[in-house]
Symmetry: C4
Subunit: 398 residues, 4 copies
């Protein structure tokens, strides 16, 4: 059982799910620093003047970073069966399933080339660039990438339309310029692909100036292209901007699997069901003293407390809420609940009305359990006393 | 009657109106691929180094693409009388009316030059560029162009004002620079049109750098122009952006004539009336489980179901709605209707309150029919059982 | 009296206030065309290769345009006492007051140089550029300039803050670059003003490329400047954009003095009072069939009809409203009025609640009159039958 | 006591808190002019051609500016104990605490180099650049910097995410270009840091054109980078823009410590408590005649009048409000109060509902006092007659 507990602990550290786990935070920031140093090294190593390859300390640093990444990869592989999503699988299948995730593939690419070059002496410099892929490891830690990914995904049709419009603009501008300046500057506008280089440079308002029209008609075409470029600029700004700022302001932290899998309402669920539920949850955080539900306000979400303490001031009694408690909107009711205020910095999961409907359609039992928990005390607020921040953990067979 | 049915089928395939018609989808994507290949060929053919004209396979591909486009043009011409808008015309007048549409003219330009050059041996290269016009054929398939067109049209006065302001800015900056640097760089600022090239380059923040002020006063004028350029940049971004993103988020699919002409409420209408009605309709799509009308929400549109199934959960009974059914706001009533939820992915037409007024003013009979359909069962929701997704088709004389 | 009527007519034509006055429209567009031609001529005359000065027809055109502008200036001067604002003044004082308006000064500058050069033979070319000032005459006709002016004025404090921030950014970036590359590129970064040219070019993302850092530290400073430039770009876009698009969407036409001075509620007012009132009015236009006040909506403005016909469908009777009628919000009441719909394309003045308060504080009699007109028939809607579009005109002593 | 009163007066002048203090305004603008002149001098002194060092008047001006700044610094140091925040400290500790504020450090840096160079003859030119730091003194006077600072602070996580994304983009683009053009242009893309210079130039759409890809594959990479640049451009614009324009429109003037410390509700509070409260207040200004609370509107803030006069028109009596009076929302009540209108240009502090909760949690006595003041007369409006604009001042021991 000792081994099991070590594996559990390592998993918790690497996933960094337990709020306030200082060891996990240290490991997290240590890995970020190693990635940044390793990438900086790979970048600087391409500068001939620095002659980093001839420096002994540079090679040593490289070996240390490589060792850290190999160790991280191996530990992540070992603890993979701890993931709630894979707990029901035999260990070897859990690890196989982990190896094929995008994060694990990036991790592998971050170490494989260097390991291979150790085994088989090759031209190290060509492989060095592959080390830059380690930078992508940072994406795992950054909520910014997540937000950009969600924003782009939400507006992918609109962005595709922008690309088609941009492509048409490039083609039209390039063709016009090819026809006008083909004979005057045959080295620059001698073919449409050459002219397209000028067109994309101009439409994005980058304007290198390496290719520039010189005839009067060519400049007229250029002026029209620039004005069209202002419109090209406006389209993605409008689309990405509104979407990204909405996503960033909403999803201010990333809901991970393990956060949810420990909460009482979900702790005995099958992992596949939980994976199905995860996209239904939005996360919200509230500072101390903030109203989560204002007095007289109609609740628009069902909330599950992840972390922190809240207080519900009903007409009859005041109730304290902690991690795992449920309150807020009940499906089918009109959302009149007593006001709720955050007593400490609080993180909650919020489920919208539409998503509650989806939940009810697909998992009526879970929906019923949430409703029962939310209804238990007075008017939609749970009565239980605050529990410790770290809730009880379901025992898993090692 | 055999010929009539073939023509109907070809029309349906080319217009791609019947949801889930796999043959139509294949033809649609096949035509897009051919256009992209043909345009790519025309672009690459202008690169002298590739010597594509001497390649036999290039000529063959060209012929195949040309053949496909000629065939498409002829078939579209043949099936033109099938269009609901032209069904009441004799066949030759229907075709004449089709030939003069912008889409048909683009289609003609896409094939005419190549056909002509086959008949009369000419310098093929000069004509080649005309083949790029085929790219415009894509506009027919892209909802992005549609959205841009609608956004620009909605804000045409504001954009015109921007152009006037941009023109004034260019003129003022060019005049100032002409006065300042005329004698210092006579080859670059020797005339106001020359200075205007610098001004437009700077105001749009493209900044090629081929023409640059060198005196102290000239640089002051340049700095003021750049700061003014930031404002120039802001104006179209503000206008286009808000308009485009609104249009894109609203019109997520294009309502075609035939979609509407098959729906029971409109299927026996004269095509000219239908053409009059089309701009009144907005389209909306809802995913499975989404609420179209939320509980307690005031309906703000009258909805006509195009595709999919919905469920209205009134106080007395639950009603299913399918293609052709009508629900939602009734003109003059206050919009209190039972909540409606999408059971499958659903597309609906939505008519706003103002547009219902317009409809009532101009076509009181149609308005009355819609109202009657919407009012039939309980409180504004139609009672009829769900029908097949493909509604019955009105027979037309061959 | 004949002279008086001619002067009135000429004033109406030049001010273009009477809706549907075809002669005024023709004169209006004729003057725009003359301005555009004259400016184009002045621009092209600076191109030495065209040798426009040696062309007889060019000189003739110039004389015609000059004649038209002189004539326009003299007529505007003659009819100046017709302006409602100046009707109470003696003719010579009215003209003196007109001469000192910005519009009249621009008009004078548009003709003065050419006239002077006719009297005293001078170097015509130097004066030619002054002809470009004629372009500013267009500002008088363009609502775009008006909107930009209003938008900039509304946000002048925020824009000033932007300029201060931009100035600080330029100064910091230039100083840093001066310290770094002063000795490496003394011809380009040899003094801070030289470095400021690079800084403004970079911060506005114009990027000519005539001055570029070449050392490693210089490039780091450059990269930081570029990233700061993205923020610089964002600030004015945010401010101008929201303000401009709001102004443009609200003020879709310009309210002129004469439009208002003819309306019955205001026609016997002293012109100075009217000039005081004008800034309180917003203008709105509604297309045929649009709801001005929706059923059940709380009116938020008092409306005065400028042009077009509307229909108020109260519970008891339906009332038609025309030019000069008043409806909508009454100060102190809660804004419950019957719905109003535009029967034709309609222009109205809208007075907000706050502005009604201001009106009541300063001109209680006018406020009382408007209230009485708005209250006369049933529940805040005027009963009078529609009048002719051109309302009666108050006789003024010639 | 004479000295005490002089010190008080000097403090009021330098802090410019008393509204309408003409001497303070003059001193304020005088200092701004001196800063601008001194900075302009330091900038121009770097231009060798001007030979400003050899001009006697330039040296004299420099000495005058230096004297003014030294005098300002000494006076500010002397009056530091007058600041409400430091009134409870012994004089020498108050001055020590003042010296370590960022504003005082900037002030010191603005004079120290010049003073040192007077004492010890050194190369004056090297120190000259340090004089540019005087420009930062302007930040003290500009609400624009304040707004930018607040906007950046509010969105610091989103902006950090943008920087990470920009960094990833730069790294990916640079690596790709390094791999592609390393051998073709070894002087420009010979190492990844070199390629990063090109990447940042392109991603920010600056586009100097000093480094440009020349191969076909390189141009494809460049085109992809430019399109990605449009997205990079959109992210900060979206984030900063919405945040900055919100801050600017809300915080139209800066609430200083002394403004608040003179108001009756706060005048006897400990300064540390006041410093704790300050961030809870938003400032609002209303023009003459504006409604602060509209009729029938639910008040959403508790207001404390800073300056100007207001009128509350309750059902029973009309009450006048002046500096120091409290009205508006009471915590726990529903916000129904009589309408309030500004009679003169008015500045108020506004406390939101959430912030009232915070206040009640942390300082129940202050909250109770505010509530009592707000409740005193009829329905949440204070009854006291208007007081003089300059409220009574608490005597402090000299």
């Amino acid at each position: 059982m000792m081994v099991t507990r070590v594996r559990q602990r390592l998993f918790d550290i690497l996933e960094r799910d337990l709020p306030g786990d200082i060891v996990a935070d240290l490991v997290h920031y240590f890995l970020i620093v190693i990635v940044l140093m390793s990438v900086t090294g790979a970048v600087l190593a391409t500068v001939p003047a620095l002659e980093l390859y001839d420096k002994i300390w540079f090679g040593a640093c490289e070996q240390v970073a490589l060792g850290a990444f190999v160790l991280e990869y191996l530990i992540r592989l070992w603890v993979a069966p701890e993931h709630p999503m894979r707990r029901h699988l035999p260990a070897w299948r859990a690890r196989l399933s982990y190896i094929t995730t995008p994060a694990a593939i990036i991790d592998l690419f971050a170490v494989a080339p260097a390991v291979v070059s150790l085994a088989f002496p090759m031209d190290v410099r060509a492989l060095l660039v592959l080390r830059l892929l380690r930078f992508l490891k940072l994406a795992r830690y950054s909520s910014g990438f997540n937000a950009l990914y969600l924003a782009v995904k939400r507006e992918r049709f609109a962005l595709l339309a922008c690309l088609v419009i941009l492509g048409t603009g490039v083609l039209l501008a390039a063709t016009a310029m090819y026809l006008v300046e083909r004979t005057v500057q045959p080295d620059k506008f001698g073919s449409i692909p050459d002219a397209m280089w000028w067109a994309i440079t101009t439409l994005t308002t980058v304007g290198y100036g390496d290719v520039v029209p010189i005839t009067a008609v060519g400049r007229l075409v250029g002026a029209a292209t620039m004005v069209a470029g202002l419109v090209m600029l406006a389209l993605p700004i409008a689309i990405i901007a509104s979407s990204f700022s909405e996503v960033i302001s909403k999803h201010n932290f990333v809901v991970t699997f393990s956060m949810v899998s420990r909460l009482p309402p979900f702790s005995d669920l099958d992992a596949r069901i939980l994976g199905d539920l995860l996209p239904l949850f939005n996360s919200r955080s509230f500072d101390r003293g903030r109203q989560v539900v204002r007095p007289g306000e109609r609740a628009r979400h069902m909330f599950v407390v992840l972390e922190g303490e809240l207080e519900s001031t009903g007409t009859e009694k005041t109730v304290r809420l902690g991690a795992g408690d449920v309150f807020g909107l009940l499906p089918g009711l009109d959302g009149d609940i007593p006001p709720v205020r955050a007593l400490t910095k609080t993180k909650v999961l919020a489920i919208e009305e539409d998503e509650l409907h989806m939940l009810k359609l697909r998992y009526p039992l879970i929906s019923a359990r949430l409703e029962e928990m939310a209804r238990r005390p007075t008017g939609g607020v749970h009565l239980r006393r605050t529990r410790a921040v770290t809730p009880r953990r379901r025992q898993t067979p090692g």
